[in-house]
């Protein structure tokens, strides 16, 4: 009882901080799995939570969480730390590890297609259910056993992120390669996405629920096997509409129900997230703002 009250108080405090913190910049995320070529503005710090809920038929329902801290080091370099945890019905709530990632944009002008290089180190355990990417032969079978934190996954993940903006549409394609340092083969995956704001021009008057503050889109992601068994055999794939609401100078709320496309996939994954960007955080800490 005390624990749930503590959690509730913490959540309320977090939301209150988001809402009363002055002059937040607009957070960016439109997608849950796919990365775009857009980088964090230098000096800005984005807090985000990405949650995913799944309901495997032969296992217990779960809620995976990733708390994300993203900092814009340079205009062409963003750095992120993820802290993962999960709750599984009838089992337990556990912290499952961390991820540290960096993204570099090698071309400093906007082109019709813009590459970004991504490198991540993750130290998570076998109970992780954040599902921030799908690679190799990942599938619903991985979620049927009881929470097992004994399996350590120290993995390196590389991505080639390609992104374009055209006539208000955003297109993003990710090619993913992941390797467990302990010796498993390279695993591969993909993610593609498209989105567009409901209105391309901004309305002249301040408004919270204007069409320009809503972005609709879709993303598709899945595994591509591993080095020895590359392809679609025994892989899982998802198609997910996405919706994001960017509250002006406030948080961004996003939701995405993902439908599994084959028998290896979860039937339904419900993703939701909140992100909030604190502008020029170092200047604020120095008291210069």
């Amino acid at each position: 009882m005390y624990r749930s009250a503590f959690k509730m108080a913490g959540a309320l405090l977090f939301l209150a901080c988001l809402l009363v913190w002055p002059a937040g910049a607009q957070a960016q995320g439109n997608y849950f799995v796919t990365y775009t070529h857009h980088m964090e503005e230098p000096g800005n710090l984005e807090f985000a939570t990405k949650s995913v809920s799944g309901f495997p038929r032969a296992g217990n329902a779960f809620l995976g969480n990733a708390v994300e801290l993203e900092y814009g080091v340079k205009t062409w370099w963003s750095s992120e730390l993820y802290l993962d945890s999960q709750t599984t019905a009838n089992e337990s709530s556990v912290f499952t590890g961390f991820r540290f990632e960096n993204r570099f944009r090698p071309l400093l002008k906007e082109h019709w297609i813009n590459p970004v290089l991504y490198a991540e180190f993750e130290d998570i355990n076998g109970a992780d259910k954040a599902l921030l990417e799908v690679v190799g032969h990942d599938g619903v079978a991985d979620f049927l056993g009881r929470n097992d934190r004994s399996e350590k996954k120290r993995e390196v993940e590389l991505k080639l992120i390609l992104g374009s903006n055209m006539k208000g549409w955003n297109f993003a394609e990710n090619i993913i390669a992941e390797k467990n340092i302990a010796g498993d083969p390279w695993e591969f995956g993909y993610a593609v996405a498209i989105s567009r704001p409901l209105s391309l021009a901004a309305s002249p008057n301040p408004c919270r629920f204007c069409r320009e503050n809503f972005t609709l889109g879709a993303e598709m992601y899945g595994g591509l096997g591993d080095r020895y068994r590359f392809g679609l055999h025994d892989t899982s794939h998802y198609l997910a509409p996405t919706m994001a609401f960017h509250m002006p100078s406030g948080p961004t709320f996003s939701v995405s129900p993902a439908a599994g496309l084959n028998s290896n996939s979860h039937g339904l994954l419900l993703r939701f997230g909140v992100s909030y960007e604190i502008d020029q955080v170092v200047s604020r800490l120095r008291g210069k703002r």
Binding site: E41, K74, T75, W77, E110, N205
Partner: protein
């Protein structure tokens, strides 16, 4: 086998270092000289629309004021936009700057904003005295 893995790792490290060095060496402050003529000559489709200036002011507050200040007068190391450079730049040059940024100098690309919204910000910038 281990030597092969070490080679791959070394090549990957070199590629990343090369990317970092390349990114650090490209770019200069004279962004206007890099604007292609076809972009420089583009006219603002929202020119002389008061609604566009208001919308641009709103977008400026949401996206730009953290660096350039709420009144576009600049902060710390970020420039004051009530300047001759802004007044003498063509709308096309300003839209190009918003789209591409000047990343070496800390100005990010605002390509994530739709082109219409970038033109609205240009309308606001050109209204500054």
């Amino acid at each position: 086998m281990m030597a092969w893995k070490r080679s791959i790792f070394a090549v990957a490290c070199l590629l990343f270092c090369a990317t970092l060095l390349l990114a650090a060496s490209i770019g200069d402050g004279a962004w206007q000289s890099r604007v292609p003529d076809k972009d420089r000559l583009r006219s603002n489709p929202y020119d002389s629309q008061s609604g566009a200036i208001m919308a641009g002011a709103k977008l400026f507050r949401q996206n730009c004021s953290s660096c350039h200040g709420g009144e576009a007068t600049g902060t710390e190391k970020k420039p004051n936009l009530h300047s001759d450079r802004i007044r003498t730049s063509t709308p096309g040059e300003l839209e190009w700057l918003l789209k591409n940024g000047s990343m070496k100098n800390g100005m990010p690309s605002w390509s994530r904003l739709p082109e219409q919204q970038r033109w609205q910000i240009v309308s606001y910038l050109k209204s500054l005295q």
